[in-house]
């Protein structure tokens, strides 16, 4: 190890005049983490700019809530954001209630074949759209929503594709966020926020008797979520950092 370090120092010394620090990777400054509006998650610094971040979890675990929170803070700060919606499930009403400035949001709805275009799957369309949007630049947040896509299909995305996305986003101030059921980006992911349901709070007479249902006799109050940040840094030596936070959100509308 010592001889390798010496050799590296010698080579760098020889090349110093032409290529300063030829064999030393350029240190990247730590980018600020984007806020999602949930204190317990913001404390984890789960969404640093210039990285590929993943929000994973099964349905009804608060993935979309966090996505809307991030979009709201990004667009309210005057930055443009984009959602590449593979299964066309984005709800503008819900997003607007979360504070998203819709005019600053570009929504790409995959799944429809254009009249003169090639017939491609929604996932292929989405990956193609991500390439174009990453290349375009200028967005604060680029979100790829794979939440409605089957695990098998998502697993078919090659590691090379994720790596390419990671390299493309590294040189920008954008956060590239992937919302999915399981983490797939492997080492290309800067951070993985794994969500799981920790409970659903019910209010009303039926709480005691789960099988008894009478019209309007209970109210589903809150959805409680446990979030575990699996990886938080990409610099060497890579350490698996695990931090945990919990949050709960009310169900919208009727009250």
């Amino acid at each position: 190890m010592g001889s390798a370090a010496t050799l590296r120092a010698q080579i760098e010394g020889m090349l110093e005049a032409r290529i300063p620090s030829a064999l030393t990777p350029k240190a990247r400054p730590d980018q600020e983490s984007m806020s999602c509006g949930v204190d317990a998650i913001d404390r984890l610094n789960a969404f640093p700019r210039g990285t590929l971040a993943e929000i994973c979890g099964p349905p009804s675990t608060g993935r979309t809530t966090l996505l809307h929170g991030l979009l709201a803070r990004c667009t309210a700060g005057g930055e443009a954001a984009v959602v590449i919606d593979v299964s066309d499930t984005f709800d503008p009403v819900s997003a607007s209630q979360a504070g998203v400035v819709l005019s600053e949001l570009l929504w790409v709805r995959c799944g429809s074949t254009p009249a003169h275009g090639k017939a491609r799957t929604a996932l292929e369309q989405a990956l193609d759209a991500v390439e174009h949007l990453l290349r375009n630049g200028g967005f604060g947040l680029i979100a790829l929503d794979l939440g409605g896509v089957s695990d098998n299909d998502v697993r078919r995305i090659s590691l090379g594709t994720w790596f390419r996305f990671r390299r493309a986003v590294e040189v920008t101030r954008a956060l590239f966020l992937v919302l999915e059921k399981q983490s797939n980006a492997s080492n290309s992911g800067g951070s993985v926020l794994d969500l799981s349901q920790s409970g659903i709070d019910i209010e009303g007479n039926a709480v005691s008797s789960r099988l008894q249902h009478i019209d309007g006799d209970c109210l589903i109050r809150t959805l409680r979520t446990r979030a575990e940040l699996l990886r938080g840094q990409m610099r060497k030596p890579v350490r698996s950092v695990r931090t945990v936070g919990e949050f709960s959100t009310r169900l919208q509308s009727y009250h």
Binding site: G37, V38, D39, P59, S60, T61, G62, T64, T65, A76, G77, G78, T89, F90, D91, P92, V93, S94, A95, S96, A98, G99, V101, S103, E104, L105, L106, W107, V108, R109, G111, S112, P114, A115, H116, G117, Q125, D128, A129, H132, G137, G138, G140, G147, Q197, I200, I202, G204, R210, Q212, H213, I214, D215, G216, C218, I220, R250, L251, Q252, Y254
Partner: protein
């Protein structure tokens, strides 16, 4: 006062081949008239050397090998004239439109910017050359002498003050364009040049030819009291190209678009304007094999987020738009029309986040529309109404909204909407769902909250109504629960799952 006259020699031929650089170096002729009386109306020097002359019939001209024949086009001539006018108004707003091939402009005061009259004339000539127009220029203290100098000079002719008569003395009388009677009389007298006419005794000339004779003599002497009357018609930025054989390939059309866009942008730049909207009109050949289009005219409009003079951007947008909306038949004629706007100048704020670059974004959006479809890319806009789908897609224009910068903490659970809603089979107990089956999976309902009735548009044929339920469903062996919003359609009685809380 100092006036410059711009004259376009062989205007009809120049206008016909303005967009065809390759053909200009070959012998060519422009023909006009209905068959069989189609005759040559203009030709270039190489064609003349081959033995062609103006007035010969098309069939006679076609006998000669290597001759390029073009139909005379009023549209192309109008476009060439408009281009010339744009070019000249870039030098001086005081510009008079004398004829299709002749313009006069007041260049007094330009010497401080461009130098001597010769240098001004060279600048004008170079600018016109960028528009593929080869011009002759005459500069004089009065308008008529400038016109005569331009028609006489094969290049640039500067007439110094007081020496107009001397320098124009050898000019042929045809330049004065006298009436046939007067021209005949002067020929019988042996008068053929300006100098000869200028030397005739004034009184005798007046007795024989009247006031018209005196006027012509005054012009031949380089004297004129004509006042400039500037052209004030609004400019039309339009370029046209017609093909002998209709073009089907979009890539070939791209070359044509590129040339036309170059010309449009040059004209707009001369007036310090930019393209705000681009109108494309294609005349289709519906008789061609495999044509699927039903209308002869195919039009597309590109509205740009910011006015631009970037030809590459405009070309790319046109290509992407035509790939997404194919004409459906070979193209016989292309018309590009630009709506001119003042270029936008923006002072970026030091603390304002930098958004996507508008020109680049427009290309990206066009590409995305090509991938997912025309109406599937944009910003959602909420509709203030009792609708089942309470939003519409609008054009994405970032930076247009004023944002507050502050957002309250996240407190509500967001939803993911299934489009279309998923049909569901429901078993009920006491009116509430007990078991549901959707997407091929049975779920036990653990909690059911509802119903909440919603309805709208009951005053229209599109009325709708539903009883909505929030359901907590078990997910087989998993401890995690699925939280969905289901509803019973009050019109059909059918149950659906509309969204999932997430």
């Amino acid at each position: 006062m100092l006036f410059a006259c711009v004259y376009v020699p062989n205007f009809v031929a120049q206008a016909a081949l303005r967009h065809e650089r390759e053909t200009r170096s070959k012998p060519f002729a422009v023909v006009a008239g209905a068959p069989p009386q189609t005759r040559v109306v203009a030709l270039n020097a190489k064609a003349r050397k081959l033995g062609l002359w103006t007035g010969m019939t098309r069939s006679e001209a076609e006998v000669l090998a290597g001759i390029q024949i073009r139909e005379r086009s009023i549209g192309l001539e109008a476009a060439a004239h408009a281009a010339l006018l744009d070019c000249m108004t870039g030098f001086s707003p005081w510009c008079e439109d004398i004829a299709d091939d002749t313009l006069v402009l007041d260049i007094s005061g330009l010497s401080k910017l461009l130098g001597s009259p010769t240098q001004i004339a060279r600048s004008i000539r170079d600018q016109a050359r960028n528009l593929s127009l080869y011009i002759w220029l005459g500069v004089a203290r009065n308008i008529d002498s400038a016109i005569h100098a331009a028609r006489l000079a094969k290049g640039i002719c500067i007439l110094p003050a007081g020496r107009e008569a001397e320098l124009l003395k050898n000019a042929p009388l045809e330049i004065l364009d006298p009436s046939p009677e007067i021209a005949g009389t002067l020929v019988r007298w042996g008068i053929r040049s300006f100098g000869q006419l200028a030397a005739l005794p004034e009184l005798d000339l007046s007795q024989r030819l009247g006031q018209e004779g005196l006027r012509l003599q005054m012009l031949a002497q380089g004297r004129s009291t004509r006042i400039l009357s500037p052209t004030s018609s609004p400019p039309v930025f339009e370029e046209v190209m017609a093909f002998d054989d209709s073009v089907e390939d979009l890539e070939s059309l791209a070359f044509v678009f590129n040339r036309l866009l170059d010309q449009l942008v040059l004209r707009l730049t001369a007036r310090s304007l930019a393209v705000g909207e681009l109108h494309l009109e294609l005349q289709l050949n519906l008789a061609a094999d495999g044509a699927t289009a039903t209308e002869r005219i195919f039009t597309r409009v590109l509205t740009l987020p910011v006015p631009t003079v970037d030809t590459r951007l405009l070309l790319k947008l046109l290509q992407l738009d035509l790939e997404a909306h194919r004409p459906g038949a070979p193209v016989a004629r292309v018309i590009l029309h630009a709506e001119a706007m003042r270029p936008r100048v923006i002072q970026e704020g030091m603390f304002v986040p930098k958004g996507p670059e508008p020109q680049r974004l427009e290309i990206t959006l066009a590409r995305l529309r090509g991938i997912v479809g025309e109406d599937r890319v944009g910003s959602p806009e909420l509709i203030d109404g009792h609708l089942q789908v309470p939003f519409r897609m609008v054009r994405f224009t970032p930076g247009a909204a004023r944002t507050s910068g502050s957002v309250s903490p996240v407190s509500q659970t967001s939803v993911r909407v299934f489009r279309p809603s998923v049909p569901v089979r429901v078993e009920k107990t006491n009116g509430a769902p007990r078991r549901v089956r959707f997407r091929g999976v049975d779920h036990r309902v653990i909690q059911a909250s509802g119903p909440w009735r919603r309805s709208g548009e009951w005053w229209t044929p599109d009325h709708w109504g539903r009883d909505e339920w929030d359901l907590v469903l078990d997910c087989g062996g998993s401890s995690s629960r699925l939280l969905v919003r289901a509803y019973r359609d009050l019109v059909t009685g059918q149950w659906y799952v509309e969204a999932e809380y997430d």
